[in-house]
Symmetry: C2
Subunit: 217 residues, 2 copies
């Protein structure tokens, strides 16, 4: 069954991804993964020696998938406002299809912080920053965006996009009580979150240069 070689490995990988995301490393059972893949448990160990190796394979693949989503932010030749809108639209759409990935990630990163460091050490953040700074020099001045506030700004943007999915059970329950549903709320959020950030920046502009808003520069 050379044909089945890749097929089986693929089936295992997909089943493992599903189960690990759903239950986490601690909660996942090898038997459960085998059942999901429709194969014998021993076969899991044939392809991936241990639970740990299988988990790592899944985790690394998901990491790659996730980081790819940020790339367009640095490549595209869009205005800053367009980029913000683009990001929320794309990122939230991705999370709509993979709502449990954020919780899974944050969890496993607490469980194994050294892994996080390895992943992030590979990313050259300064390069990205310099790139962004060059592309949006005028906007950065206008909105008074300094290097020191990247952490605050970036985590705020990430928070607005990711949090609703991490808190989904709580939010769903709350909204149920108020007569709203989660899905439309998320759909709406793509625009709301972008407005949220852009409005905040615009107000900083006003604060910074109260009289000469669009005339200056």
């Amino acid at each position: 069954m050379v044909k089945n070689n890749k097929q089986t490995e693929q089936k295992i990988f997909e089943a493992a991804t599903e189960v690990f995301i759903e239950k986490g490393m601690d909660g996942a059972r090898m038997q459960d993964i085998a059942d999901h893949a429709g194969i014998n448990k021993a076969l899991l160990h044939y392809y991936y020696r241990t639970k740990d190796r299988l988990f790592n394979a899944v985790f690394d693949a998901l990491t790659g998938q996730l980081f790819k989503k940020f790339a367009p932010l640095f490549d595209e030749t869009l205005t800053m406002e367009e980029k913000i809108r683009f990001f929320f639209r794309e990122h939230i759409t991705f999370l709509q299809k993979n709502p449990r990935i954020p919780t899974f990630f944050m969890n496993e990163m607490y469980r194994n912080p050294s892994r996080v460091r390895k992943i992030i050490q590979r990313v050259d953040i300064n390069k990205f920053w310099i790139q962004l700074e060059a592309q949006h020099k005028e906007d950065f001045i206008k909105y008074n965006i300094t290097r020191e506030m990247i952490p605050q700004l970036m985590t705020s943007i990430a928070a607005l996009s990711v949090f609703p999915f991490m808190a989904k059970p709580v939010i769903t329950s709350f909204m149920e009580k108020m007569g709203y549903a989660f899905d439309p709320y998320i759909e709406e959020r793509k625009e709301y979150a972008a407005d949220f950030v852009i409005n905040m920046l615009k107000q900083r502009e006003t604060d910074h240069k109260p009289k000469k808003s669009s005339t200056e520069k």
Copy 2:
């Protein structure tokens, strides 16, 4: 040892809280909790019959602790801007002392959604909304805050406060690379997040009523 009765139960409870928050229900081990409490494992079962009951005791206590933090928002006679600042200051200070509670909660709520419903069904959100609406009627009109946008606004506020702690390992790694530290970032955040929300609202005001900003009403 009648004296030790309460003391022991308390010790167990504290140890369990620590371990459950750290490892979650699936990752926690009864032996580990016993070790943390400095007692025999059988004693855990003597006071709390099963792991599940012990977990529920811890979970319920933490829920109460967490919800209490929101009470002042509805009682205090502060302006809306003051309330926003108050909330971020208090809430983030609480999370500084209990940084792992959010992850713990979101996780366990995914694991057991029916529990969430039970907790939230007890809260009368509409009452809170009506209360807020009455207290800040003018602000609500000024900033064009409608009932339909509570979910978006509320989750955004929660996100800005909670997310940094849920993503702490990732954020720490990123900032390490940029030469920043997590603790000052959090300290700074108490004000930044409040400004973020307030600025966003002020811009909505500008958008909504471009000419008559402080003169009107």
